[in-house]
């Protein structure tokens, strides 16, 4: 089979999977879902690692390392901030009421 066709097949099927898995999301979860999807495209990090690791000149290396830093920020920061958001949804146990200013009465 033609290699381009294989790639095209992967691409088209991924579109359907991507559309299908989020089709029933409630608006409550839009923000965490967006943030989680945002983290996933941070996987460009591995692309950055590959180009930085094959750099033959200093210029390419420097740009590759910058891309690596940016990719890591996207990937790690994205997952961590999504987790923080979702933590708040689940932390509905009896936490002690927070002290507030007008609470003196």
């Amino acid at each position: 089979m033609n290699e381009s066709i294989v790639w095209l097949t992967i691409f088209v099927l991924s579109i359907f999977v991507g559309t299908e898995v989020v089709s029933k999301v409630s608006s409550t979860l839009h923000t965490p879902l967006m943030s989680g999807a945002n983290a996933i495209h941070g996987i460009i990090l591995i692309g950055a690692i590959l180009v930085a690791g094959s750099a033959e000149s200093t210029g390419v290396l420097i740009v590759g390392l910058i891309a690596t830093v940016l990719g890591a920020v996207n990937l790690v920061g994205g997952f961590v901030v999504t987790d923080r958001m979702l933590e708040m949804f689940s932390a509905r146990k009896k936490a002690k009421p927070t002290k507030t200013d007008g609470d003196a009465a």
């Binding site: 898995v21 839009h30 879902l33 989680g36 999807a37 460009i44 591995i46 590959l50 930085a52 901030v81």
Partner: protein, 462 residues
Amino acid sequence: MTTTPVWVQLTYLAAAVCFILALKGLSGPKTARRGNQLGAVGAAVATVVVFFQKDLDHLPLIIAAIVAGTVLGVVGAYKVQMTQMPQLVALFNGVGGGAAALVALLELDEILSHGAEVSTVIMIATVFTIFVGTVSFAGSMITFSKLQELMTTRPVVFAGLPVAFGGSIVASLVVAVFGVNDPSLFLGIVLALLGLVVGVLLVLPVGGADVPIVISLLNAFTGLSVAAGGYVLSNTLLVVAGTLVGASGTMLTIAMAKGMGRSVTNTLFGALKGGSTLGAGVASDRPVKSVSPEDVGIMLAYANRVIIVPGYGLAVAQAQHTLRELVEVLQSRDIEVDYAIHPVAGRMPGHMNVLLAEAQVPYEQLKEMNDINSEFKNADVALVVGANDVVNPAARTTPSAPIYGMPILNADEARQVVFMKRSMRPGFAGIENELLFDPKTTLLFGDAKETMGKVLNAVKSL
């Protein structure tokens, strides 16, 4: 060219499955956190395995770069206040797009230096990654500046904008076509610069309340550029992950736009058509009825049904906890109280749910717009805290208003409406709210947290 070992490819496949399950999990409230963690595991495994894909040089530097990015990301994610989260997502999205564009530029350099014949498809994917990645980067940075209020949140439109935007798109296309036919690093860099211009011009005319939709759209853009970049690098994981985000991000964008009663094109280009700058964005001096916290306390304490409309201003003032306490006191007096959550309350869809969840407001009290809107007419008091646009009747009545057509909460149907506001400044969308001047409306000015505390004390003392 060395080939990727089979076990590495299989691990990439496993990581891709993790990402699919992550998105699936994130779509349901019970599975969301597990889903996100699964995605993180997949990403971590892939990041380790990439070092076995082929022999890489400069390992200490690369690992240092990963550590630096990780530290920056984690610190950013932990330091950010929940109110500022949308701009952080925009920022993360932008750097991802930037990374994809840089990777494609470097790969272009690599391809050229080998001097071998390059397939047209590879070149198309390369210029696509460069262009879309830089658009996403620049657009996200403007979005970030708008949300962080480093620049005006209102649509920025100047006379030549449509021409400049169209011109830069055409120029980009021309450069892209030349770049595909006769690849050179120079053309790649020119295209990247044009991408930056297009990104800026794309987002500048988008007004305040529409910014979240743009974040989601740019998120999908970055996904697609990562997918194209993955094709250039012959990396299946990047192709699958990027495409997943591109597709789900597009769906999400459409869903959000629908929640605001707008189309995506209207969001992006509405301001260009002009006539969308109703209201000057300054405080009005028309007379309003202002009352004291004690009056509001009495109003609430003797009501039977109260509906709270929380907005971004509530969270900015950090008044959620006091509000929750007030609601608890009212409920102990057998008053029926609910929170009416507009789909785009806050700065992003679902943002308000996150902010109230942070204050441990029980999930069951948060009512979605469609479920609560018919109840307003039975409500004695609608208490609007730090919200404005989501109860602005101009969305129903004034076709020239930027928010026209957006479904709103029917707070104006309640017997009495109380606005807790910092000042008469208009909301994020910059439009005057007619409801403020309605005879049944009273206003309580001041810092939401402070005045909320006073109202709470007033209710308690009754």
